[in-house]
Amino acid sequence: MNPAPAHLELTTAPHVHAPISTPRVMYEVVAALLPVIAAAAYFFGVTAILMVATGAAVAALTEWAFSDRQGLGTLRDGSALLTGALLALTLPPALPLWMVALGAAVAIALGKLVLGGLGHNLFNPALVGRAFLQAAFPTTMTTWSAPGQGFWHIESATVAPPMLHAAVDVVSAASPLGLVKFEQKTTELLPLVTGNVAGSLGETSAVVLVVVGVVLGLRKVFDWRLPVATLATVVVFSGVLWLFGLSPSPAFMLSSGGLLFGAVFMCTDPVTTPVTAKGAWYFGLGVGVLVVLIRNFGGLPEGVMYSILLMNAATPLLNRVSQPRRLGG
């Protein structure tokens, strides 16, 4: 007689699985954010760390509060943490922490949970949070404090009590995109690449973002087509306009604003972008065109967030028109 187990287990094929899992993918992206957070802390000081911590914590708390609350619930997959951290990194430094918290709560509750949670949201949750903040507090959200004011420097605005704005104005600096748009001044490329310019926490250092993006792409954490299509479209489209004097140079377009950050971390969000390969190209094309249009002809200096959200909205349609053609069909 066999010492066989009394009950064999029946599971469906395949009986082997690739060594990947959704939580693992999420935590890889979280890990990839660490250098970005480090760069933010280098330029904007301890404020950056406070903001990222607030965003991640509130996002996680919101996810937990609305999920089944059995143990960690859906927190375990790490996506809420990621959303919160990403949101914080797209915010201007010195934004009151209560706004960061509000944004994170909105990102998870409105951007994600209302629609059914992980995998079902239609819009990038972090950007829903950011768009909410941008629409709610337009002035505060376009006030940029200058980099390099010392590591331990904390603006009074950052710690303003909830619902109130800071009594004292922050030492503000115009962002490179704001400078082009409203004062027709371009910024040198070098500071843009290293990141020593005004802007949102995570977006300023182009070099860090490029390295992180390449690593994530090579590790197949995301679909490389999405960022490549986006960036290529911006380069080509703005390049053409640049020849006619209608746009800053493609190099400037690439390295300024939230484009690289968006391309690496947000255009690549699997949930809100097309599943098909062709759809990914369309998506990147759409984001690229919209970014160039909004930056050069729109009322806003920066359009990455809105471009991504708009293409998120179009994603179900893109999926539909880009169904793969079956083999031999």
């Binding site: 009950h7 064999l8 287990e9 029946l10 599971t11 469906t12």
Partner: protein
């Protein structure tokens, strides 16, 4: 004052113009549709269940008004509504005898051996493609309730034995559960078919009984006890051939209780009959 008249004229003129256009359209572009279709459709339950064989209630209404179907073909409507529609159209109510969904298996958790653990999607369709689930009998009910989920009328409840129980009062014979069961265990039967073989295994003899306590082991007693031709043994199973057959005698010697006389709902036997069946059948079988 001219202003005044002008203004009134403008409006009246506009209205006159559209009056003429619409009147013309009304007479030239009119599409006649039997208004009774709307009336009948309004009375139907709107469940769009398809039990009548039509793609939906409105299509059924069109067929009824056209005289192609009897109102009674709608199995969902109450008799009152059917009579109402029949009265409206001046036709016979028609319709067939009430049919209900019947399950050809009684192998609940305690009757059939569990020989493996199925892990995965909790639907019968999914379990059926993984070694037909963990129960020993590959023909029997998987117990995961696809039928209950498919029933739009709430007529099927999964009972603790892991078997679906049909509430014959609610069942409208829509055929959904018949399609939903991956093993094809459901069929629609007239209510007057009261002798049911509640098993589907072709296995016979001890192999069948070892696998499941209530299996039809093809002993053939029921066929012998029934009038000639009413019950036949086919491929290791008893099959009731006679329509409206309800002779309880034929079930009494069944050693496993696989063949049953049911009054209304399956698995809900009148106590008296159940006891008789037990004493005569099961004990008999155990002794032998």
């Amino acid at each position: 004052m001219g202003d005044f008249a002008g203004a009134v004229a403008i409006l009246a003129g506009l209205c006159l113009f559209f009056g003429v256009v619409l009147a013309l359209a009304n007479s030239k572009l009119k599409v006649w549709q039997d208004p009774r279709v709307d009336d009948v459709a309004g009375k139907l339950p709107g469940a769009n269940c398809g039990a009548c064989g039509q793609p939906g209630c409105r299509a059924f209404a069109e067929q009824v008004v056209a005289g192609k179907l009897a109102p009674g073909k709608c199995t969902v409507s109450s008799a009152g509504i059917i009579a109402d529609i029949a009265g409206l159209l001046g036709v016979e109510a028609g319709g067939d005898e009430k049919r209900v969904a019947r399950l050809a298996c009684a192998g609940g958790k305690s009757a059939v051996r569990d020989i493996a653990d199925y892990r995965g999607l909790g639907s019968c369709g999914a379990a059926a493609v993984v070694a037909a689930g963990g129960r020993a009998c590959p023909w029997g009910c998987l117990g995961l309730g696809d039928c209950a989920r498919s029933c739009n009328f709430g007529a099927i409840v999964m009972k603790s034995e892991g078997l679906p129980v049909v509430d014959v009062g609610k069942c409208v014979a829509c055929n959904d559960c018949v399609v939903a069961c991956p093993l094809g265990l459901f069929s629609l039967r007239p209510m007057s078919d009261q002798i049911l073989v509640q098993c589907s295994t072709p296995l016979a003899g001890p192999m069948a009984r070892e696998m499941c306590q209530v299996a039809c082991d093809a002993c053939g007693r029921c066929a012998l006890d029934a009038p000639a031709g009413a019950i036949e043994m086919v491929g290791g199973l008893a099959v009731v051939r006679a329509a409206g057959f309800s002779d309880v005698k034929s079930t009494l010697r069944c050693p496993t209780g696989a063949i049953q006389w049911v009054e209304a709902g399956q698995f809900a036997l009148p106590k008296r009959v159940a006891l008789r069946a037990l004493s005569l059948g099961r004990l008999h079988a155990r002794a032998g």
